[in-house]
Symmetry: C2
Subunit: 505 residues, 2 copies
């Protein structure tokens, strides 16, 4: 890797670099380390990198894949193939295995010369110094937690690509104008603690820390985020806030988790925003009664009513070009010969426009009580026995309005993608809107943000079989690093031309 | 109590009884105890009891209620009212609280002079000797285990009424021609170990003991019936079998668990049989995918398919005058933003005739795979998005054909009910078919059997609010005792007239 880049160094730039070396010898993992306490001169500054240099600076695909699979030893999930890496992941946030992955992230970035900070939500910020350390770093961020039956790429690719960027910068003695960092956000999935992107949400000031700390893990557990942060030793002293840990920008590499890139044979998605969504919890109360002795008309069957609601939400989504999904359903008492009197289920509604999500919400809030009361809604009672009414309550747990990413970040990603993919890039790059929420949604509230998507097999994610080709992981990591360097260079250019910092926050 | 009966003794019979007393003095709880080792003469034999005597022998309502509520200290459930007894029950089979209730049953019946036997399924048989102890006892039976959110009467009334019968017989120095007994059957509910009436089923030879012993508790537990029988010390050495513990008859008092008696202002149901039912487990397999990035047509949504199936089974039940109920539903992975790829649910189908249950089964087995494959069944796809197919498997876990109880037992119950309720009894007694399964279904396979129903409030059962009036509990217990005594007398009469035992098994 280094040789290829060094050969590039010799020709395109037409200038020579000082032969100075840092105070520590190059050897093994401490190659190119940089510490805040020592300030040798570096071989190349970002501002000195032209297009050819940027293009020829390559991340190491093998090393990236090694890091991905190395970290997947903690929380290995269901096996789906014969190869050692053909398993899913089950690394719930703040579990023992999440702690091991965090420890790896912290020690690895520290060994690369980064200063790490753990905040009061357990977010870990690793910062590699630049020339102007009085200014906020340009960050790469994603998450190391997974779904209970997740895969090896969702979140993990983004964090390990950030680490790979740090390694590549170190290997090649790159000196950025501003510090660059990698952040591992806590509980992005919202799988264990049912508030997704909660820790970036607290950082952005959108979610009160107390709410986050008191969030209880999903049934049947009883731990809270706070108790688990303490238990695994990741309750940091720094307040989780964009004020105490400011960012100049936030870039996130992620698998698409949908089928569009693969279906259209594209390699890189330049993500311009995220669709809107809301999460609801619906509770239906009927009456527990014996299945054998209660005729159909004497039942208040909460599960039958919930089944009608789930089907109805799907019909509403179909009619409104939206998405409606139920991923959690719990019932009580849970016995074959007892009609359930108590059913609670989640409802996840999404659409590109806020107005569509709002309309879906209104329809659900109007129709669910009718269904519970036994009224017919779009044929919900066809061929059914008229039973006793149930009651229903619907709470909105989470609201993520449609997000539009920052043009400067989108521009950096777009240019990086075209640079990396070369002359045929117009056939390989596409602009996209993310269907899923990501920590970038919250980051975008407090600093310029964009994302990079790479294809995943059949669009499958949140599944052990989630898979991204090695070359696609590497392409994404390459675009990620170049986006950061372009943004760093742009910050410097703007400072010179405008005599001011564009992003002082 | 005793005084009323003793006054009855003095007049209607016209004969005097010897003044002999048993070898132990009457005092406190050991009043009227009888032991196998001592055989004093008793004050009255069943065969000497005429209609008036039978009618005047009364159980003690206050003592019965005290026993019911005393045993409900073990496994007290959800509170629904202010009074001390206004709570439900949560006493799962072979739990620590079930052990405590069992210990009470064993020690109480032993203190009343019974010999107790625990069999290899944990069934406890308490037998009070009669004059002819070479013959099988006439049994009263029910169960002390409850649903997870059950009430204070289902099963408990039947066992405590049996104990009250033993106390009343002892108080009044009644000597039965044949032994009488009370049996507490294990895991009738099938709530913890999902095979209802499993232990009477093993006794009857209908369920292999190995199957029963290996039955695992419902998710998320891992214990088996065998491991729990051992753990709580109720794995008896006697083989659970009608051959090792024969019964001459089995009578069971139970709350109706339906609304018919209450709605028609009746007091006693003479139960002539039990409707047929089958239990199934349905597993739907789709694909876990991200809720935000997977459009509706790219989903194999196992929960949406399950919701359609649950609704469809209700429609089939409506069309066929049957019952269809889902009481358990589990899904994986269980995350708000993951479409579930794996859903398993129970299906309980019932009807008075075997043929109707069989027809329902055929319809379900034909239609569920169509729904899973995405075909429209009775409008199941109306206004829906056509998604990817799911697979489905349906297993039949349990089959209880329609049961017809024995005419001799039905006759004993019917006569007892009319005797107890007096001149207006034709307005207060009704013939019924049980909607629920009971241990009497299996008992009926090996000995003459019948049941007695009493009304419960609003027909509600398997619910903390399940409630039976004190006077109705007492009426039921009164009919139960008299049914046993009538059957005992009938056995003796037939022996004399036919010179043979009608029920030698």
């Amino acid at each position: 890797m280094a040789s290829r880049f060094q050969s590039a160094l010799r020709f395109p730039t037409g200038r020579s670099y000082p032969a100075l070396k840092p105070s520590k010898p190059h050897s093994g993992r401490i190659l190119g380390q940089r510490r805040f306490s020592i300030s040798p001169r570096w071989q190349i500054r970002t501002k000195e990198m032209n297009e050819d240099l940027l293009k020829s600076l390559k991340i190491n695909q093998g090393r990236l894949m090694q890091d991905i699979h190395h970290t997947c030893q903690w929380g290995t999930g269901e096996r789906w193939g014969d190869a050692p890496t053909e398993t899913g992941m089950t690394r719930l946030a703040l579990s023992d295995t999440d702690k091991e992955a965090r420890d790896w992230f912290k020690s690895t970035t520290e060994a690369l010369g980064c200063k790490t900070t753990v905040d009061s939500m357990g977010n870990i910020f690793a910062v590699r110094p630049g020339l102007r350390n009085d200014k906020p770093p340009t960050f790469v961020g994603s998450h190391l937690d997974t779904q209970p039956t997740g895969g090896r790429y969702d979140g993990i690719l983004g964090v390990t690509a950030g680490v790979e960027m740090l390694k590549t910068l170190a290997d090649n003695w790159i000196e950025t104008e501003y510090p660059v960092g990698v952040v591992n956000w806590t509980n992005e999935e919202g799988a264990r603690f049912p508030l997704s992107m909660v820790a970036s949400g607290v950082w952005a000031g959108s979610i009160p820390q107390e709410t986050a700390h008191n969030t209880r893990e999903v049934y049947p557990g009883t731990a809270t985020m706070l108790s688990e942060l303490k238990r695994i030793g990741y309750l940091g002293e720094t307040t989780a806030s964009y004020e105490s840990i400011p960012m100049a920008a936030h870039f996130e590499l992620h698998i698409e988790q949908g089928p569009l890139l693969e279906m259209s044979n594209k390699k890189i998605g330049v993500v311009k925003g995220v669709q809107a969504y809301k999460w609801f919890t619906t509770t239906v109360k009927g009456r527990d009664t014996h299945t054998g002795t209660t005729d159909l008309k004497s039942r208040a069957d909460a599960l039958l009513v919930a089944a009608k609601m789930i089907l109805h939400s799907h019909r509403l989504a179909t009619a409104n070009s939206a998405l409606a999904s139920t991923g959690i359903l719990n019932l009580k008492p849970g016995s074959t010969n007892t009609v359930p009197g108590d059913v609670t289920f989640s409802l996840d509604i999404r659409a590109p426009q806020d107005s569509t999500v709002e309309k879906m919400k209104k329809l659900v809030v109007a129709d669910f009580p009718k269904i519970a009361a036994g009224e017919d809604v779009l044929g919900s009672n066809d061929a059914c026995t008229f039973g006793l009414p149930c009651s229903v309550s619907i709470t909105e747990d989470f609201d993520s309005p449609a997000t539009t990413f920052h043009p400067d970040c989108i521009d950096s990603v777009s240019k990086a993608a075209n640079s990396v993919l070369g002359p045929n890039s117009h056939n390989l790059v596409m602009d996209m809107v993310s269907g899923a929420g990501h920590d970038s949604v919250y980051a975008n509230k407090r600093c310029p943000t964009s994302m990079i998507f790479v294809p995943c097999r059949e669009g499958v994610s949140h599944n052990p079989r989630e898979f991204c080709k090695e070359e696609d992981c590497a392409l994404g990591a390459q675009v990620l690093m170049q986006s950061v360097l372009r943004f760093d260079r742009m910050r410097d250019e703007r400072r010179i031309s405008w005599k001011q910092e564009p992003y002082t926050l």
